[in-house]
């Protein structure tokens, strides 16, 4: 008796989440979603981290009005839910005469959000480099900018790999929000397939696709962390 219940529950589970025919039918669509997600994610990581690093470096010059603007930007973007920004930009901009595609809006908004977080992380890294490092660099003839670029930032980056990797993954996963503005990324494809098939199998496929996509990034982050690990002398 117990055994039949177990068996049928297991069968129901498989029937719900792993229907072989649906897996076959929708793997193409999910694969397309994976490609779009990868494209957005890649662009967001590159743009977000580059802008974040640039902002942190600009902040190092301690020009008061400039730093005020950076802090306002960072705090606003860190406090707004990314979904709000995405919807606001996508549905609000056309009224101003701009027609950005969902793909571009998703890329820009997530990059801006990642840049805000990355700026804070890089800035903390720059501050944690000891003053003696600046002294040594300046005493050998480096200008402020050169000391920042060649001595301080390389150390700041190594100090920030762990928090930066975490934050990058967290923001990049938000590519799933592209669904609400019609970007054909993984969740969108999976959700569409779910509506047509009435089965949760495509959603499970989407979930697995996310895992396959992000596990390597998590592992890579760990690897970079150990590789850059060095004791401060």
């Amino acid at each position: 008796m117990n055994e039949t219940v177990t068996t049928s529950a297991w069968a129901r589970f498989l029937e719900t989440f792993f229907r072989p025919d649906l897996i076959e039918q929708y793997s193409g669509a999910i694969a397309k979603g994976v490609i779009v997600t990868c494209q957005v994610a890649g662009l967001v990581v590159v743009t977000g981290i580059a802008v974040g690093l640039a902002l942190a470096m600009i902040r190092a010059y301690r020009i008061k009005p400039v730093n005020f603007l950076i802090i306002v930007y960072v705090d606003v973007l860190r406090s707004l839910p990314p979904l709000v920004l995405i919807v606001l930009t996508y549905f609000g901009l056309p009224a101003l005469g701009s027609t950005l595609s969902g793909f571009v809006v998703l890329w820009l908004v997530l990059s801006m959000v990642l840049a805000a977080f990355a700026e804070e992380i890089f800035w903390a890294g720059i501050l944690s480099v000891r003053k003696g490092q600046w002294d040594a660099a300046r005493s050998t003839g480096f200008s402020f900018t050169q000391a920042l670029a060649w001595v301080v930032v390389p150390q700041a980056i190594r100090l920030t790999v762990a928090p930066l990797t975490n934050r990058t993954i967290a923001i990049t996963k938000n590519t799933a929000l592209g669904m609400v503005i019609g970007v054909p990324e993984i969740l969108n494809e999976a959700s569409t397939a779910q509506s047509f098939s009435g089965s949760a199998t495509p959603l499970m496929m989407g979930a697995i696709a996310y895992i396959l996509l992000f596990i390597p990034i998590v592992v890579a982050g760990r690897w970079i962390e150990t590789r850059f690990a060095w004791r401060r002398s």
Binding site: R130, G132, Q133, D135, A136, A137, R138, S139, T140, G141, F142, S143, Q146, W150, V151, P154, Q155, R158, W230, R231, R232, S233
Partner: protein
């Protein structure tokens, strides 16, 4: 005590005129006048907090002087239009905490400024680094990271880093204060060699025995002013100023 080889007839390599420094209302350096001649080794001694390090850091404007002028090789560092980054290459500086770049090898520490500031080619910079590491007895540790080196070795790499820019004068800010006693000797030996090769040096340090042996002149600084100067013998054996006497008695204990 060795014979002074200082070339006191020549123009000074380093000269401070009316050099002062204040932090807010606190004057840490009263308008001092100070000269260092070619090949001279000048020791700066004094109680802690007397302004020795501030004085040294004003000599290359790592600390911005509040008033006065610093001439290095005849150029006023405080002058308008002076390229301080260019001038600093003529003033080597060695720090108490070594301040090696922890993410770079010994060689990388030395070549960085050669490459990025002086624009030397990779091979020229590496050759210079190798020469300087040989001078400090660490030719075989070129690829070691700072955390793989002892404190004494780190300080010698830091000296090599400063030497590589071929400075006219070297400033040492308590170079052995952060070292375990058994590692001090190797650093002092490097400084002794530098002196013998004719390097002009200004040393802030508590290594009185080394001062007696190697210094051409000792300057006693107290409360941000130069109270007395003379040969090591004069300062350490027959000090004139009561504060100098007090200080010498204190360190002799």
């Amino acid at each position: 005590m060795s014979e002074s080889r200082a070339d006191t007839d020549a123009n000074p390599i380093l000269e401070a005129r009316g050099l002062g420094k204040s932090f807010g209302a606190t004057k840490v350096l009263h308008e001092i006048n100070f000269r260092v001649f070619p090949r001279e080794l000048v020791f700066i001694v004094g109680p802690s907090g007397s302004g020795k390090s501030t004085m040294l850091r004003c000599f290359n404007r790592l600390e911005e002087p509040s008033c006065g002028a610093v001439f290095v090789d005849g150029v006023n560092l405080m002058g308008k239009g002076v390229n301080i980054n260019q001038m600093r290459q003529r003033i080597g500086m060695v720090f108490q905490q070594f301040n090696l770049y922890p993410h770079l090898s010994a060689e990388g520490n030395i070549t960085l400024a050669l490459r990025k500031v002086q624009g030397k080619s990779k091979s020229a910079a590496r050759a210079a680094a190798q020469r300087c590491l040989e001078l400090v007895g660490l030719a075989d540790r070129a690829n070691a990271r700072p955390n793989e080196l002892s404190g004494g070795q780190q300080q010698r790499v830091a000296i090599a880093r400063a030497l590589a820019l071929e400075p006219k004068v070297m400033l040492f800010d308590e170079p052995t204060s952060a070292l375990d006693p058994e590692l001090v000797g190797s650093v002092l030996q490097v400084m002794r060699n530098l002196r013998d090769e004719g390097m002009t040096m200004v040393v802030v340090s508590h290594e009185i025995r080394f001062a007696r042996e190697a210094a051409d002149r000792v300057v006693f600084v107290c409360d941000g002013a130069i109270l007395e100067e003379g040969t090591p013998e004069e300062i350490f054996s027959t000090p004139k100023h009561p504060r100098t006497r007090e200080f010498v008695a204190e360190i002799a204990r």
